[in-house]
Structure formats: structure tokens, C-alpha cells
């Protein structure tokens, strides 16, 4: 395999190689968790998991375009496991900033999907102002001792490691005293409690950290440079997240075509001129967002950076809130109800509440508008009163 990788790879020879390999190895479907694990191990071993990565770390040094060829071939037969050089947040962050020892230990298991991971970023006192975190990591010999509280953590209960930002220096301004760790989660000092959301679901947890131990080799980047590592990780996360949000959850099919039209038809109000206006507004917003995304991609292909990229999340928030509003309008008093016997109400009410997942999560709409105003339109930043003072002197709520 190493010999093959040294040869110049043409698009066609690559395509043939992937096809041949898939033909010889892909069983057509995976019936069990054991099947899945076996398949992922094969993909990683054959260097298809991260084809754009360096050969030193299970990759093939392929270009982005060639990576797409591999992904297309896998997708054509329905085989999972490749393209992780684009989508595996954990492995990408580790590759970019991890110590050699931690890479040796975790990269292959991460690519095989054997390691459960979670994010330990937000805190009750540090939401929009993430650099205001107060979880602390204090060096004790060959490890760090971690104390604090994290929130909005998905999969915390099953995670083996959490990507953690913690304060390691309280005497410098807030962005400069933060470090980035892979914190082992399976230890007595880490307690996970489910957080019940406004939708009634529990996708997230609170994580209470009390004298938890983190080996020094689990530090990513240099001490005090965690804010920069976090930006790397967030960039990966946004590139994976950008594509949309959850729809209705009742699972009761809504009929053909545009969902709002089908819903209004079912509710017997499709001839109501007011409802029709509102449907047009929402469907219009959805189509405009799709057109903006398509234009952004075309701009990107031509090498011109696009203002449009940063607008998608803000647009999606508005679409989700508006769609929920119009669903409610269509149902009228029907939206008073909930439960499995009233799936349309269930959907409208769920979407109404879950829209905040997008308009608050991953940066509130208000923070997003700041970013667009400052980075895209070039408007001056608001003065930050805590920017240049030691963190221990920063005012808190």
C-alpha cells in the first residue's frame, strides 16, 4: 500500500482502485454492531477513512478533489467510513494540534468509531461569551487537576473523552489563559446529569467536574493557547453542522409536495388567502436560502470568497421560527393539543420550541449578526471592557 501511495495517482486510477477495493470488501450491508466495527477497521486499515490526510497518519495525501472521488465511490454502494478527513471533528482536531503520544493512542480508534466523545465548552456562566469560562485546570506533576461545570454536552454519559477548554492562567486577559484538553470522562471526578429541554427531550447534559485528573499528554496545543485550538475545532464543527436542522418529529407522513401546502390542504384551509400568503413567505424563505447556498458554492468554486456562507445560519433560524408560526396558524385551535393522537399539533409545537435550538445553539442569532456585521460588512467592533485585563479582575454575574 505504501508503494502504491508513492505513485502519482490519477483520478481514473484512483476511481478504479476504490471500486476494486469496494467490490472485494464491501458486504453490501452491515447487519450488526460487530459488522460495523469490522467494516470500519477495514476501511481505516486500507487508508480509505481519511484519504486526504498524510500517509504518516493512515491517510493517502490525496487532494480534496480526489478525496471527493473516494467519497462518491463509497456513497455509490452505500458504504460508510470514508471522508472522515472532512467530517470527523475529533480526529481532525487531534491531528492538527495533539501531542504525538495522544495521536498514537487515539487516532486509529477515533477513526474506527470506537471512542465516544463529547464537547466540554459552554458553562452556565459562559454562553455567548465562551472565553469567560471559569472551569480550571491546575498542573500537578505529570497531570492536570480539573474543577468546574460544563453544560450543553451531548453524549456525555457514553463518552470516553471530552474536548475540554479550561482556564490555566488567571493572571492574563481572558483569551490568553485558556488551554485545550482531551479529558478522560470515565473517572470518579466526572459526574453527568441529563438536562431536560423545553421540548421535553434530553439530548444534552450538565457535567460536574470535581478534582478530575487529565494526563499532561492530553493537552492540545501549548499551555494557554487553547483559544486558538478551539477555533480550529469550531471551524470543523461548523463545516459539518451547516447543512440544516431537524424537521417534524411525529413521523406521520404529511402527503406529497411542499409540506405546508399538504398540511393546509389536510386542514381544509388551503383556499384561505391569508394562509396562502403566509405559506408563500415561508416556502419563499426556504427557497431563497437554498439559492444563496448554491450561489455560495459556485462563488467558492470560482475562488471568490462569499458573504453568503455566513448568512445561512441566520436564515435557517428565521425559516424554522417562521415555519413553526405558520404551522400553528394553519392548525388554529388544533395546536392546543399534543401527544401521539394529534401528530400535526405535536409537530407544530415541537418545531416552535425546537427552533431555538438553531437560533440560540452554536452562537445566538445576535452573536451571528455581530459576526456578519464585523467580519463581512467590516463594521467596527463593540468595545470589550474585559479584553485587556487579567481574568481574575473580570466582572461576573
Amino acid at each position: 500500500m505504501a508503494d502504491d501511495a508513492a505513485l502519482p495517482v490519477t483520478d481514473e486510477s484512483l476511481r478504479q482502485e476504490v471500486r476494486a477495493w469496494l467490490a472485494a470488501n464491501w458486504p453490501g450491508e452491515l447487519h450488526s454492531e460487530a459488522d460495523r466495527q469490522g467494516w470500519m477497521a477495514k476501511v481505516v486499515e486500507a487508508r480509505w477513512a481519511v484519504p486526504r490526510w498524510p500517509t504518516e497518519w493512515l491517510g493517502r495525501d490525496l487532494s480534496d478533489a480526489q478525496g471527493r472521488i473516494v467519497e462518491r465511490e463509497f456513497a455509490a454502494v452505500g458504504a460508510p467510513g470514508t471522508g472522515q478527513d472532512r467530517t470527523n471533528l475529533w480526529a481532525n482536531t487531534l491531528l492538527a494540534r495533539g501531542t504525538h503520544a495522544l495521536k498514537e493512542k487515539l487516532i486509529a480508534p477515533l477513526l474506527r468509531g470506537e471512542v465516544g466523545m463529547c464537547l466540554l465548552y459552554s458553562e452556565p456562566g459562559a454562553g455567548s461569551d465562551l472565553a469567560g469560562i471559569r472551569t480550571r485546570a491546575d498542573r500537578k506533576g505529570d497531570h492536570f487537576v480539573v474543577n468546574g461545570q460544563k453544560v450543553w454536552t451531548s453524549y456525555a454519559a457514553s463518552a470516553d473523552y471530552g474536548m475540554l477548554i479550561a482556564r490555566t492562567d488567571w493572571d492574563v486577559p481572558k483569551h490568553r489563559g485558556i488551554s485545550f484538553f482531551f479529558l478522560p470522562m470515565k473517572q470518579p471526578g466526572v459526574e453527568v446529569r441529563p438536562l431536560r429541554q423545553i421540548t421535553g427531550e434530553s439530548q444534552f447534559n450538565e457535567v460536574f467536574i470535581t478534582d478530575a485528573i487529565c494526563p499532561a499528554e492530553n493537552l492540545l496545543g501549548e499551555l494557554g493557547e487553547g483559544w486558538g485550538v478551539l477555533q480550529t475545532a469550531l471551524a470543523y464543527e461548523r463545516s459539518v453542522m451547516g447543512e440544516g436542522a431537524r424537521g417534524p418529529r411525529s413521523g406521520v407522513p404529511e402527503g406529497e409536495g411542499e409540506p405546508l401546502v399538504a398540511l393546509a390542504r389536510e386542514a381544509g384551509v388551503l383556499s384561505d388567502p391569508l394562509i396562502r400568503q403566509e405559506i408563500a413567505k415561508v416556502v419563499g424563505l426556504k427557497r431563497l436560502n437554498a439559492l444563496n447556498t448554491a450561489r455560495a458554492k459556485a462563488d467558492l468554486k470560482q475562488g471568490t470568497s462569499s458573504a453568503l456562507m455566513s448568512l445561512g445560519k441566520l436564515a435557517m433560524s428565521r425559516i424554522l421560527h417562521e415555519e413553526a408560526r405558520v404551522r400553528t396558524l394553519i392548525l388554529g385551535a388544533g395546536s392546543l393539543l399534543e401527544g401521539p393522537d394529534f401528530p400535526r399539533a405535536e409537530d407544530a409545537n415541537f418545531l416552535t420550541l425546537n427552533a431555538y435550538f438553531t437560533s440560540i445553539g452554536g452562537g445566538t442569532d445576535q452573536i451571528q449578526r455581530n459576526i456578519i456585521g464585523e467580519r463581512v460588512l467590516g463594521l467596527p467592533k463593540e468595545p470589550e471592557v474585559d479584553r485587556d485585563i487579567p481574568f481574575r479582575e473580570v466582572r461576573t454575574s
Binding site: E256, G257, E258, V261, A262, L270, P273, R276, Q277, I279, A280, K281, V283, G284, R287, L288, N289, L291, N292, A294, R295, A307, L308, L311, L314, A315, Q366, Q368, R369, N370, I372, G373, E374, V376, L377, G378, L379, P380, K381, E382, P383
Partner: protein, 371 residues
């Protein structure tokens, strides 16, 4: 209608941009909008010279032979500079109507003069109520031997008072038809209407036994096709206008200092600007997409045009309206250009159908697409 290569299109758009930057600056717009004719003859001739007036006219009739893509691109520049001209009436609506009617004799006689700018034409499409459907037509045509006589009233006729040729949509014994009328002929009485948008010219036209000459075959379809082309053009104008207004508003927010800071550093202003960027970029996407779909003759072209029509209209009005608020007092003055854009945006939002009209038709397209 043909289509230029991408490179030719960019070069052409650039030549229009440079001409308008030079000759349709704010001072030019203010001067021209106060004249009775509402356009500058020299600039009109220059636009004809570079091929903008005959943009969509077939080369065999002296035009550039371009299509919706080029038209949309040119109109973005037109909207950005608030060009005062009968381009939309003559070069788009009238030329488009003639070409969709496909009357060889009329085209050979009329299109070359429309393309070179020597003849300003317009279409009389609607009656005093100002709708854009067959039932809104308030002119009747009756046969008078081989000739036709027109009676009734057309209103909101764009540039009707300066046109040398009227294409009058009238209800005849065999349905809706288009009739060529000489505005100087007997039985035609033209009254200019005072317009809120001073860069626009509108007229009411009464017909009392006026002589008309039938063009093409009867039917509403050619009229709707010409209207759709005009809607794409208007969407381009709205997108271009919205982008320009946002541009100068953001520029002002960076330089206007209050409480010791640029007002654009305040979130109250910054957040409005971010929202307007979404509006203006969405309008641009919608206008360009509608042009692409119309040029390709795509099955969903109608839905794309309806979407562009309401999205671009609303976006242009919203951007202009909020821009005045963001500027504060300075934009409440006559001398500031913001109100000129708001006036144009409000006019554009009514022409060839208001946003609610297009939303209704958009939903009808959604219904039709899925039984």
C-alpha cells in the same frame, strides 16, 4: 433570444456600469427626474450605442440578441444608479412583447428603431384599477373592416407620455389582442400622471375610436411572457438597488460618530445591517436564478419568477426603509438620496404585480407542481 458567453456578459455589464457611473450619478438623476420627459436624450443614445436598449432584440433586427441573463445583469446596474430612462418600457416590455408575438412584418418595421433608441415604445397593459390579469384590461377592440377601433382606458402606462409607439392590450371579439397605436393619432388622449417615484413616468390613456393595427394572433400568453421578462428585469433592478443602498448605508455607519464611536459599532445598527445583507443577497440570488430558469425555459421558471418578483420587491423596500432609519436625520432630508431609492423601490414593488399577487401565484405553482 440568445445568450452571450459568460465573458461577453461580464464585459457588457462592465461597460454599462462604467457608463452609468459616469452619466447617471446622483446629480444626473436629480436633474433628469425633474424634466418633463424624465430621461436624458444623450444618455439614452449612449445606452443604445453600447447595445443596452436593443439588448434582447434579435440581431436580424439590429439588437444584441441577448437574453434574460444579460438583461438581469444590466438591470442590476440600472437599479444601483436609479437610471431615469424608458429602458424597461421600450427595451424590455415593448421589445419583449413584439418578439413573443412574432409578427414578422411588425418586427421588421418596429424592432430596429426600438433597438437603436430612435423609437420609444411602451405597452398599455392595464386599466384604471391597475391589475395585471386579462380581466384588468379596460380597452375594447372592435373590427372596422380590415382595421380596428379601440375604445376605453389604459392606465399606469409606463412612459406613455413620451412614447412614439403604443402597444395596446385590448379585449376584442376573439379575446385579448395586442394593437399597434400611434399616440399622435385621432382618438388618443394621453394624460401624464404625477408619480411618487420621480424617476418614473406614468400616463393614463383614453381611446375613443382610435385606429389600431393588430399584431400577431390573439391570446394572453404573449402578454404574460412579456410581463415575465419585465418581472425578471425588475427583479434585477431591485437586487442591484438594494445592494447599493446597503453599501452606502454601511459606509455611513462606519464614519458617522455619536457618543464617541462609529454608529456601526452599536449592535442596534449592526444587527439591522446584518439582516439587510441577508435581504439583499437573497434578492440577488432570486433575481439571477429567475433569469437562469427563464433563459433555460425550465419547467419551474414560472415559480422562480414569482419568487423573485415578491422577494426582490419586498427586499428592496425593506432595505431602503431601514436604511433611512439607520442614517437618522440626514436621510430625512430631500438632499439625501435614500428617499429616491425608497420611492423607486415602492414603485417597482407595484409594477406588473404587487408582492401579494406574486405570492398567491407562487402558491398556485406549488400546488400545481404536486397535484
Amino acid at each position: 433570444m440568445g445568450t452571450l458567453t459568460a465573458q461577453e456578459r461580464l464585459a457588457f455589464q462592465d461597460s454599462v456600469r462604467r457608463l452609468l457611473a459616469d452619466r447617471s450619478a446622483e446629480a444626473d438623476v436629480r436633474r433628469t427626474m425633474e424634466t418633463p420627459s424624465g430621461y436624458a436624450a444623450e444618455l439614452w443614445a449612449a445606452l443604445a450605442d453600447i447595445g443596452a436598449v436593443g439588448l434582447i432584440v434579435d440581431p436580424e433586427h439590429g439588437g444584441a440578441g441577448a437574453g434574460p441573463l444579460e438583461l438581469e445583469a444590466v438591470m442590476e446596474e440600472v437599479g444601483a444608479t436609479l437610471l431615469c430612462s424608458p429602458l424597461l418600457s421600450s427595451g424590455v416590455l415593448a421589445a419583449g412583447l413584439l418578439q413573443t408575438l412574432g409578427d414578422a412584418e411588425a418586427n421588421a418595421r418596429l424592432l430596429p428603431r426600438i433597438a437603436d433608441g430612435s423609437l420609444i415604445a411602451t405597452a398599455a397593459l392595464t386599466g384604471p384599477k391597475g391589475g395585471w390579469r386579462p380581466k384588468d384590461v379596460a380597452v375594447r377592440a372592435s373590427a372596422d373592416g380590415a382595421a380596428w377601433r379601440l375604445d376605453g382606458e389604459a392606465s399606469f402606462v409606463t412612459h406613455g407620455q413620451i412614447a412614439g409607439l403604443l402597444l395596446v392590450v385590448a379585449e376584442g371579439p376573439d379575446g385579448i389582442g395586442v394593437f399597434e397605436v400611434d399616440p399622435a393619432s385621432a382618438g388618443v388622449s394621453i394624460t401624464p400622471l404625477p408619480t411618487f417615484d420621480h424617476t418614473l413616468r406614468l400616463a393614463r390613456i383614453e381611446f375613443q375610436g382610435a385606429a389600431g393595427r393588430r399584431i400577431g394572433a390573439p391570446g394572453w400568453a404573449p402578454v404574460e411572457a412579456a410581463l415575465d421578462l419585465a418581472r425578471v428585469a425588475l427583479a434585477g433592478e431591485q437586487a442591484g438597488g438594494a445592494r447599493r443602498v446597503l453599501e452606502f448605508t454601511v459606509g455611513y455607519a462606519k464614519t458617522r460618530i455619536q457618543f464617541g464611536r462609529a454608529i456601526g459599532s452599536y449592535q442596534a445598527i449592526k444587527h439591522m445591517a446584518a439582516d439587510l445583507l441577508l435581504e439583499s443577497e437573497s434578492a440577488t440570488s432570486a433575481a439571477r436564478h429567475a433569469a437562469v430558469q427563464l433563459a433555460a425555459g425550465a419547467p419551474d421558471a414560472k415559480a422562480a419568477i414569482e419568487l423573485a418578483a415578491f422577494a426582490c420587491a419586498d427586499a428592496f423596500v425593506k432595505v431602503c426603509a431601514d436604511a433611512i432609519q439607520m442614517h437618522g436625520g440626514i436621510a430625512f432630508t430631500w438632499n439625501h438620496p435614500a428617499h429616491l431609492y425608497l420611492r423607486r423601490a415602492r414603485a417597482d414593488a407595484q409594477l406588473f404585480g404587487a408582492p401579494d399577487f406574486h405570492r398567491e401565484r407562487f402558491v398556485a405553482e406549488l400546488e400545481a407542481a404536486h397535484g
